[in-house]
Every structure is written in C-alpha cells, then in structure tokens.
Amino acid sequence: MDQNGKIKAVKRPSVNVFAIAIAVLLVVYMLTMCITLFWTIMTTVKTNAEYEFYEEAGIMVGNKLWLPKTGISFNNYGMAFKFFYVPVQEGMYTVQYGIFTQFIFSFLYSFGCAASVTVVSLVMGYATARFKYKFSNFIYAFVLVTMALPIVGSMPSEIAVAQNLGIFDTFPGIWIMRGSFLNTYFLIFFAQFKTIPKDYTEAAKIDGADPLSIMLKIIVPLAMSTVTTVFVLTFISFWNDFQIPMVYIPSYPVAAYGMYVFQNTPIVEIANTPTRLAGIFLMALPIVIFYAIFNKQLNVNLSAGGIKG
C-alpha cells in the first residue's frame, strides 16, 4: 500500500518546475561536495614531492590543484597507517596503541554512549510527553534552559566527581556520564511521542495492559525509526569526537584522538598535507563504509517505521 503510493509518485510524468529547481540546487550542492572529496582523495594519492615541489620547466611550482602528473602512490596511506599510534603511559612503560585497537576503543565508546544517550532521551521523552504531570512541563523547560546556558569551566569538577565515584577512565563510567537527556534528541522524542494519539494506548489500558508493556510493545515500536536515526546520529558524532575521550578515558585512546595526534605530529615523514589527509581518511573510512552499506537500510527503516495517520 505504502510502497504503491510511492511508486505512483515516481512515475508522475509531467514536467515539474518545482522539482527541477530543487534538483538544480542539489546538483550544485553535490558538485561542491564531490569536488571537495575528489580533491581530497586525489591529494592523498600524490606524493608530497609532487604536491609541494613539482617542477615545470625547471621552476618549482608544486601541484596542489591538478591531477597527479608523476603517477599515483598509495604510500601516504602506508605511512599514515604506520604512524597512526597513540602512546599511553603505564608506569614505566608506554603502550603504543595502533589503529586497530583505537578502532575497538572508538567502537566501545561510540556504541555505548550512543546507546545510553538514545535510551535515556527516549525514556525521558516518553515520560514527559505521555504523562501530563506538571513536572513534565518543568523537565521540558529545564532541558531548554540547559541547552541555552553555556557552562563555564566545569571540567575539573566533573573529573573530580568521576574520580570520587570510581568511574573515571572506564567505559561504563563514560557511558553513564554521557547518558544525559539534556539535548535535542530529547526534544525529538518528546515531539514524536506527543503526536501519537491517546487512542493508541487507551484500548490497551482497558485491556489491562500495564504501563511498561504499553510503552515497550505499543508506543516505542512506533518510534523505532526515530530510535534508529537518533542512535546513528549520536554514534557518528561520538565516533568523530576526540576531546571528551581524551580527557575522560585517557587510557583508551579512540581513533579520533589518534587522528588529532596524527594531525599535529611533527614527525618529518608524515608532516605534510597529503599524508595528513590520508590519515584523516583512514580514520573516517570505517564510518563512511558503514554509512554507504547502511544508507539503504536506514532508508528502509525510516520508511517502514512510524505511525500512519
């Protein structure tokens, strides 16, 4: 039924000025993005000798803007891979964490934090949207206030609290610390649950269903697409975040932190633009692949989820 409706929309034959206008904008957008990506990839397969020092008729002009003229080299990736280390001090020893281990840490960090943010925002969104207590209004307003209020210099006290609770520098600790509902996702869940009509639950209530099963079996499944979306969005932002893990889980360097270290390292072999870009790309690659694979999946989920009507 749903699918049919869409197929019809696709088949609409008339010339559609509105669609063309948007398409033009989108093509321009896509081109800017493609050029940027193309340049980045092109640069990562150039040697630095060509990028900076390419000579034309005996004059050193470099080749930053055009296609490689001296051949393609994947050496930058090799170098980036080789030097993508983060050292962690453990007593008199230094543990050099390589890129694979960093990926594992990244995964644990992002998956755990994304899960806790999603669940907490979902639960609070559900509670405040579906139960009309005064306190719910207060929570909603409170979230808005905290979003508007910039907090200044609280990091030392946050570290101190985490240390006192014994959760500093542990994965469960960071999952708990990040598991807050003071964010946009709470507002999204709130809005979503607010739009679901009361009738959905009234029937179940009359049948004697308890509040938990109403939530888990009736309402949350309707919001599954939002759950997935929120999870993916938070997962990605945690994956790309290096500042929080750098401070709160210093013993478990994530790949984003590895990239930060790599970007700033003065080691001569890799202190050049092509290798540095290759390094960032290396770190971004898993998530780009993940996205490319699940792009369709996300689509299906979104289309299939939600309430009709």
């Binding site: 630095n48 000798a49 900076e52 020092f53 000579e55 004059i59 050193m60 002009v61 280390y85 050292p87 001090q89 008199m92 020893y93 230094t94 543990v95 050099q96 964490y97 390589g98 890129i99 694979f100 281990t101 990926f103 594992i104 995964f107 998956f111 990091m155 030392p156 499944p221 599954m224 697409s225 759950v227 997935t228 750098m246 401070v247 210093p250 270290v261 700033n264 390292t265 003065p266 080691i267 001569v268 202190a271 050049n272 993940f290 694979i293 699940f294 999946q297 299906v300 989920n301 299939a304 989820g305």
Partner: protein, 554 residues
C-alpha cells in the same frame, strides 16, 4: 521488517568489530619500555617536540648520565642514572597538560600558564634548586642570579617559592636569506648604496665595505643591514626592483606580522621604557601630538597602575604601527596579493622559492621556524641534494628611527615556555639534579647552539658551541648577546589578574576606532579600516575604557 533492519545493523557492527579484534588481537599495539633501566636511578623527561625539537634534550641527558654513571646516592642499591626522554608524544603542550594528569617526572614545554599549574598543585617546589649553589658544576653563582628581575618577581609572587624556570626566548621578527642578500646586493655599503658579493674571492672587501648596521659598530653581526626605518623601506623597494618579493608571510596566521612589527616598539622604547608595560612604575615619554608631517611631540608622564593606560601613547607604539602600515598596509611588498597560507606553508614557500619563478627575500616568523621547516628541508635534500646546513639565513635586527639612535637591540620575548618537575616525581633528588645540570652555563650554551634559540636566562654561548650552530643560529646568538631582553612578566597584581587586558596581544593590539573594536592591525590596514595614526589613538581609547574594570589592588 524494521526490527530486522536494526538487528542486522547492530549484528554486523558487532561481528565486524569482533572479527577485527580476533584477527589482529591487540595486533599492532606495542608495549615499549621507556628506556627504563632497573639497575639505575630513573626519571622520565618530556618535551614539547615543536620549534626546539627534542634532540637537545637527548644529548643533554646522555651527558648527564655520563657524568653520574657511578653515582649511588640517587637511589639505594642503584649505580648510575637513566634519563628517559619522551620524544614520541608530541602533545606535551602547557594547554594539554593543564587539563590532564602529569605522567612524566619533568617537563620542558610551552604555552604554560604558570599559575594554573601552581594553583592545581601539580608541580614541585624547586626553590632550593633555583637558590642553591651550582658549585658541583664549577660555577660560583646560583640559577636565581641568571634570572631577569621580571621572572624573579613573577614566579615568586604567590608564596616566595619557585615552581618553574623559564624555558626559551620567543622572538618574532623578519628572517632574511643571506645567500640572496649577497647575490642580489641587498646590503648597504658605507655610502648608503647597495652592495653585492660578486665573487667569493672578494669576500674580504665586501665585508669591509659593509655599513655599520643598526648597532653602529663595524665588524658585528648586523653589518650592511638597514640601520634606519628609511633604509629599511628603501631596501624593500630595492628588493622589489630586483624582481624578488620582499616578504613571505602566513595569511592564515597573520598575527605573526603584528607580532614581528611589535618588535619595533621594544627596540624604540628600550629596556626601561618597554618594561613599563609590565611594571607600571616609572617615567614614560608619551606622544602629545602627531604633526601633519608625521613628526611626533612627546611629554614625560609618571606612570602608576592608576593611569597605566597612558602607556598606550608610547611613541614606539606609533612608530611600530606606522612601519607596519608602510610595509604591510598594501600588498606591494608581499607579491601583489594577499595569501591564505598556513605558517608551515609560508615557511615552505619561502625556502623553496629559491627554485621557483620569484624569490622571497624575507620571512615573517618566530625564531623557531628553522626547526618547524625541517620537513621542507628534508624534501629539498632528496629532490635537489641541498642540505639544510648549506642554506644561510639570518634574523633581521630592528632598524632605528634615526641613525643617531644606533645601538644594541632591545628585544621582546613573547615567552610562555617553562621547565618544571612533577610534584609526584618518582625520584625528586635526581630530577632536581638534572634541573640544576640543565641550567648550568655550559648546558644552556649547548642548548642555544643546537636549537638556535636562547634560553630565557643570562649566560654566554661558548665559541666552540656557536661554531656548531646554523648560520641563522649564529646571527641570533650574536644579536642576543648584544641585546636587552624584556619579558612579559611582573608581580604587579593588576597584570597577573587581568590577562584579558595585559596579554601579549591584547595590550599591544586592541584598539577602539569610531566605536568599533579591533585586535589585528594587519587586518585593519589591509581592509582599509584605519590608518596607523587612527589605530594608535585607538589603543589609548580602548584601554582607557577598559581601565574601570580593573582591580588595581597591589
């Protein structure tokens, strides 16, 4: 359907990570012994591997180890010492360390806010090191005696104790290409004409014919370099006339230009005049009027913290802005257009311009640039077979307003780098001894020669060390030897409590013109938002407005 999608997603993620994990285990993770030697007394020392590199520290550590190879007093049952230098981790900046735990025993780093560390109780009290004797190393004085007064008062302002020692001098200015200057004749001779070195065999005559330079003495490091503002500007025209570009600079970090031009202020005001900007105690010569012909009428004013903003009328500040406007107000001396280079790109463009179509004569930079540019030098060695050592650069001394003012330089060190010991150091006695060792004249001389950069203490570079320095390093060593250096520190409470007013940039560049605030003269001139005189008047206007917010408490 939807549930299947999510399960598939999560399952794939988990499987891929598990597969990755089991494939490589902790595959490419390596555990390194940090050079720890169980038979010896150990400490670990970290340095920010930036503009001064880490090689100096490794060399010093091995000299120290050699000296104490039979020592048994550092730790019971251990013979000799082991200093492990951490050169792997490049992130020992003051900024990073201020928010994380200290894992090493000792640090040499930059970007340090002294009181952030001291108040966090992270660093060891080293008063005994600073005030103690250096007789073990054959010296009669103390480290304290080598410190400038400004450091002495600033470092001990809290509780009369020393927790850190200053690390290296951060001078901004103009780097010049000695080879190009000789080839193209960018030196002045005694008659004020330009002078080139035609042939290496004529070097003796060439050197003899050079003008005295800004210090007014012949036979010194600055011979032939422009002695006055006018000569400096004429030189730029000459460079342009010879189809070279006078300056390479970093457009993205164009505050380097402001900081380089700030050097004009220090040199014009001299040690006592410039130091007032930190002590707020003494008499200053301030601009009363700028006449239509550009000449300046001054008056003497007594400066106290209450009227400190009056210092924004210092004549040196006007001349510095005027020079900056003349040089960088238009793009004519930077190749005709503004660039967007990062500073590393600017360094690279400057060095490799030798092989490009037009050559840059000077680079706007800090004295640490040579070390930062190592990747470019390394690449050029591969491509052109030209070693870093074979290129000759120099650090341009500041010219004077008039020839009569010839004399030594007054330099401003934008210092923020310090050496300190972790409060939880594993072997405090050893760490303190190493600290002492590194602050002997002999070691500081070696540091200077190795890095080209001076330590922010008083000492002399030995000739045998100087001989090992790069050409750039040699010119800097000579210049520093002759110069007075002002450091941006004092124990004036107002200065310590209000960095937003007295920071190295805010104090010299914040300006209020027609109700708009500016903090970057370079941008302001480039965008035609003001001229030098307006910017100068704005310095005063801005700080006068700020003054009522200050807590002047002593």
């Amino acid at each position: 359907m939807k549930n299947r999608g999510i399960s598939a997603l999560i399952a794939t993620l988990l499987i891929s990570v598990a597969a990755l994990g089991s494939f490589i285990g902790c595959g490419n993770t390596v555990i390194e012994n940090n050079g720890y030697d169980a038979t010896k007394a150990n400490i670990s020392v970290a340095t920010y591997n930036g503009g001064v590199g880490y090689q100096w520290l490794e060399e010093a550590a091995s000299r120290f180890e050699e000296k104490y190879k039979d020592a048994t007093h550092f730790e019971e049952g251990k013979v000799g010492v082991k200093i492990s230098v951490d050169k792997d981790k490049q992130f020992y900046t003051g900024e990073n360390l201020s928010t994380s735990a200290l894992t090493k025993d000792m640090y040499f780093t930059e970007g340090v806010d002294y009181y952030t560390f001291v108040n966090a109780d992270k660093v060891a009290d080293i008063t005994d090191v600073v005030k103690g004797s250096l007789s073990t190393y054959g010296e009669t004085g103390t480290i304290e005696a080598k410190l400038d007064d400004s450091f002495k008062s600033f470092l001990t302002a809290k509780d009369n104790k020393y927790y850190m020692l200053p690390f290296y001098d951060a001078f901004y200015g103009f780097v010049y290409d000695v080879d190009l200057f000789e080839e193209e004749g960018f030196y002045y001779d005694k008659d004020g004409d330009f002078l080139a070195l035609r042939d290496e065999s004529q070097r003796e005559d060439f050197e003899a014919n050079k003008a005295n330079g800004p210090d007014g003495e012949h036979g010194t490091y600055d011979d032939g370099l422009p002695a006055t503002y006018k000569q400096f500007l004429d030189l730029l025209d000459q460079i342009a006339a010879k189809s070279c570009i006078p300056f390479c600079y970093s457009g993205s970090y164009n505050d380097y230009v402001n900081k380089a031009c700030r050097a004009f202020i220090a040199d014009y005001e001299g040690y006592d005049g410039f130091k007032l900007n930190y002590t707020f105690d003494g008499k200053a010569n301030l601009v009363k009027e700028i006449k239509a012909d550009g000449s300046v009428v001054t008056e003497e004013v007594k400066i106290t913290p209450e009227n400190g903003y009056e210092l924004q009328r210092q004549a040196g500040k006007y001349y510095a802005l005027k020079m900056q406007e003349e040089i960088f107000g238009t793009a004519k001396y930077v190749g005709g257009s503004w660039n967007g280079y990062d500073y590393t790109v600017a360094q690279s463009e400057y060095i490799k311009s030798k092989y490009a179509s037009t050559r840059y004569a000077m680079l706007v930079e800090g004295v640490w640039w040579e070390n930062e540019a190592n990747p470019t030098f390394a690449e050029l060695e591969i491509i052109k077979g030209e070693k870093k050592e074979s290129r000759r650069f120099g650090f341009m001394p500041m010219p004077k307003l008039k020839a009569e003012l010839a004399g030594p330089q007054t330099m401003f060190s934008a210092n923020s780098s310090f050496a300190f010991i972790n409060k939880n150091c594993q072997n405090m006695e050893l760490a303190k001894e190493f600290m002492r060792f590194l602050h002997t004249d002999a070691e500081m001389s070696k540091f200077n020669a190795k890095t080209s950069i001076s330590r922010s203490l008083k000492y002399e570079v030995k000739n045998e060390d100087k001989a090992t320095a790069t050409h750039f390093g040699k010119t800097l060593i000579d210049m520093r030897k002759q110069a007075n250096v002002v450091y941006p520190y004092s124990s004036v409470k107002m200065v310590i409590d209000h960095p937003e007013v007295f920071s190295q940039t805010a104090w010299y560049f914040n300006s209020s013109i027609d109700g708009n605030s500016f903090k970057n003269p370079f941008d302001s001139f480039k965008n035609r938002q003001s001229d030098a005189k307006q910017y100068f008047n704005g310095l005063y206007a801005y700080q006068k407005l700020m003054w009522s917010n200050l807590k002047l408490g002593k």
